[in-house]
């Protein structure tokens, strides 16, 4: 029972980070209808900056994080301006392909600048695990969970009440109608990419604190795809809930089935889930169904 609960808790925590990274996907999908396959690279660039600031320049974590977030915002803006905006009127497939190219480009750049070895973060969160009657949680995990919940609440409020959030929803709904109502679509796109990039960096810093940092971590960009599909591509809540479900399933499968077939199942389970979801409920748990007209 303790084993089960431990797996469950780890799953929830890992899932919360998945949710955070998935949020980046959802934001961009909502605004532009495209999938940002370079999200994984956005996730790893942030923590690298943070790490370098902390180790090479001895800047305290909280300031380093602040600078990282600003850097990520600029990165998101630059990418939107240089890559996405020229493709604004291109078919969605082109935009997806461009983000694949972007992921190759950014991945190559990270590799060239910082090498391929795994780096560990300096101690930010206290290392002593907290023991909840047998279930062990490290503070990093607890923090990630809290951060994700806070961000989820913030975004729900943002989309519901702020002018920008409503503009974003309008653009997501119908770009041309939004344009004719006086919403600057360019501005909304730029804001979306900025926010998505910042969210990805937050997720990356948390992940870096848990696992250490290496270019292979960018694979999370693909691991998280099942999460968005499960939750529904355009649902913020879906991203978070999907994150939890996939995280838990992954850990349970890893804990119970891996010993039977010799490991490696953790990375595959999300994709088996996604195939089932796509066949049974293509719009995910919370995604909105689109009606197509000729």
């Amino acid at each position: 029972m303790i084993f089960f609960l431990q797996m469950l808790v780890t799953g929830i925590v890992v899932g919360s980070i998945y949710g955070l990274v998935a949020l980046g996907f959802v934001l961009i999908y909502r605004a532009s209808g495209a999938l940002n396959l370079a999200n994984g690279e956005f996730v790893i660039i942030g923590p690298y900056i943070c790490l370098i600031l902390m180790t090479a320049y001895k800047i305290p974590f909280i300031f380093a994080l602040f600078i990282t977030l600003i850097f990520s915002a600029v990165l998101g803006l630059t990418v939107e301006r240089l890559v996405i905006r020229p493709l604004q009127n291109a078919p969605v497939v082109s935009v997806i392909m461009a983000t694949i190219g972007l992921s190759s480009l950014l991945g190559g750049a990270v590799h060239m600048i910082w090498g391929h070895q795994t780096r560990t973060f300096p101690q930010v969160f206290p290392p002593t695990p907290i023991n909840f009657s047998g279930i062990i949680i490290t503070p990093v995990y607890l923090w990630s969970f809290v951060v994700v919940i806070v961000i989820l609440i913030l975004f729900s409020i943002f989309f519901k009440f702020s002018k920008m959030g409503i503009a974003m929803r309008a653009v997501a709904d119908d770009r041309h109608a939004a344009l004719s109502m006086g919403i600057s679509v360019k501005y909304v796109y730029a804001a979306t990419w900025t926010i998505a990039s910042v969210v990805a960096a937050v997720g990356g810093v948390l992940l870096g604190n848990i696992n250490g940092l290496s270019p292979t971590m960018a694979a999370i960009g693909l691991t998280v795809l099942p999460v968005v599909i499960l939750g529904g591509l355009d649902s913020v809540l879906g991203a978070i809930v999907g994150g939890f479900i996939i995280g838990i399933l992954q850990n349970l499968a890893g804990g119970y089935l891996d010993p039977l077939i010799g490991g490696g199942l953790k990375d595959v389970v999300p994709f088996i889930v996604v195939l089932l979801i796509l066949m049974l409920k293509p719009y995910g748990l919370f995604g909105s169904r689109t009606i197509e007209r000729v």
Binding site: M97, L102, G107, M112
Partner: protein, 367 residues
């Protein structure tokens, strides 16, 4: 210029000067329009290309023959993918795994069961087509993004099965293959294998160009342009989507088997997600929906690392540490090339080629 009457046009066609290109498009019947080689010039051009391609080993070094073989193999796979993505509009990012299915099928049949390469090659294609069709079934309900993710799932799941099914596939260690033989003669030299691959490429090109001209090809195009409209016009969406997946996977499987027998080894990491991206880049850079573009794109992507390698050889004089960064540098340039093509030349190399041709058609009097 007086050839407005049909009879006169036909007469003109027979006595045409080979070195003068026609300036207009005088097609008078549907079958005339659909002709593969409309003019004598086109026939001669096609023949010349075949002769040049087949005679290349006579005056090119062995190293280049090896590279050209790789180009030809990738071109077969790229044409396959282009049938799916370019013609039918179904994006697939699981090509790598399907290459793997082809390679492994041939490896298992030849190495474990001792079958001849000539039997295992078509079987590899058929098995890949079956599996491709299977993963194509979700395409009925999915499109665009969702389909891309379904094919990504196919990639991950197939690779997982390959690397875990130790008894059949040799697990992560992979398998060793041998080169095909014709009677007593083994195609162990680059040149022999080059001929094999180019002949298969020629057959693939012929099939693909013909496919576009048939009912099936037109149905594919209709599905790509607007699948609901196509359905209303009586095209069986399920049949044609699954068919596109199967046909495309067949060629990808053939390419996988050819590649496996060329490198003489198969192992799971040869068929990673990165390979899928490379193939997508090939058809994108080459030109979506264009057979000729697929070949250009395949050559471009295959030769890109080679030319980067020689570039680095030059630059290493100033920066010796560049050698360690080679793979990262390759990724970087690869990504940049994809983005630049998407932004500045969405039609791909095939479109650039058309533009050049158009320019020289009336050269030097282009007005």
């Amino acid at each position: 210029m007086g050839c407005l009457v049909v009879e006169q046009l036909k007469g003109c066609d027979k006595v045409r000067n080979l070195f003068v290109r026609e300036t207009g498009n005088y097609k008078t019947s549907y079958s005339n329009d659909m002709k593969m080689f409309g003019t004598t010039g086109a026939k001669i051009k096609a023949l010349l290309i075949v002769i040049v391609v087949l005679s290349l080993p006579l005056y090119v070094t062995n190293y280049w023959i090896g590279l050209l073989t790789l180009c030809a193999i990738s071109a077969v796979g790229a044409i396959g993918l282009n049938i799916l993505t370019g013609l039918t509009g179904q994006i697939s990012i699981g090509v790598g795994a399907f290459l793997g299915v082809g390679g492994y099928t041939s490896a298992i049949l030849t190495s474990t069961y001792g079958l001849s390469f000539w039997i295992s090659l078509p079987i590899a294609g058929i098995v890949t087509a079956l599996i491709g069709g299977l993963f194509g079934i979700p395409a009925l309900r999915l499109k665009g993004l969702y389909l891309a993710i379904a094919t990504l799932a196919a990639q991950v799941i197939i690779l997982f099965v390959i690397s875990r099914w130790d008894s059949l596939t040799g697990g992560t260690a992979g398998m060793v293959l041998s080169r095909p033989t014709i009677g007593e003669y083994t195609l162990s030299s680059n040149t022999g294998y080059y001929y094999l691959c180019t002949i298969i490429l020629l057959l693939t090109v012929m099939y693909a160009t013909n496919l576009i001209r048939t009912r099936t090809g037109r149905a594919f195009l209709a599905v790509r342009d607007r699948d609901i409209a196509a359905q209303i016009m009586g095209i069986n969406l399920f049949k044609y989507k699954v068919m596109a997946f199967a046909i495309s996977s067949f060629f990808v499987g053939i390419a996988g088997a050819l590649l496996a027998h060329y490198t003489m080894i198969v192992s799971p990491e040869l068929y990673s997600f990165h390979v899928s991206i490379e193939y997508l880049a090939m058809i994108l850079i080459g030109g979506l929906g264009s057979v000729f573009g697929s070949i250009l794109g395949a050559a471009f992507i295959t030769l890109l690392p080679v030319s980067l390698g020689s570039l680095i050889d030059v630059m290493a004089g100033f920066m010796p540490e560049l050698y360690q960064l080679f793979s990262a540098f390759k990724d970087f340039v690869f990504g940049a090339v994809i983005i630049l093509f998407l932004i500045f030349e969405p039609g791909g190399l095939a479109h650039i080629w058309l533009n050049i041709k158009k320019y020289f058609k009336l050269w030097p009097f282009s007005y």
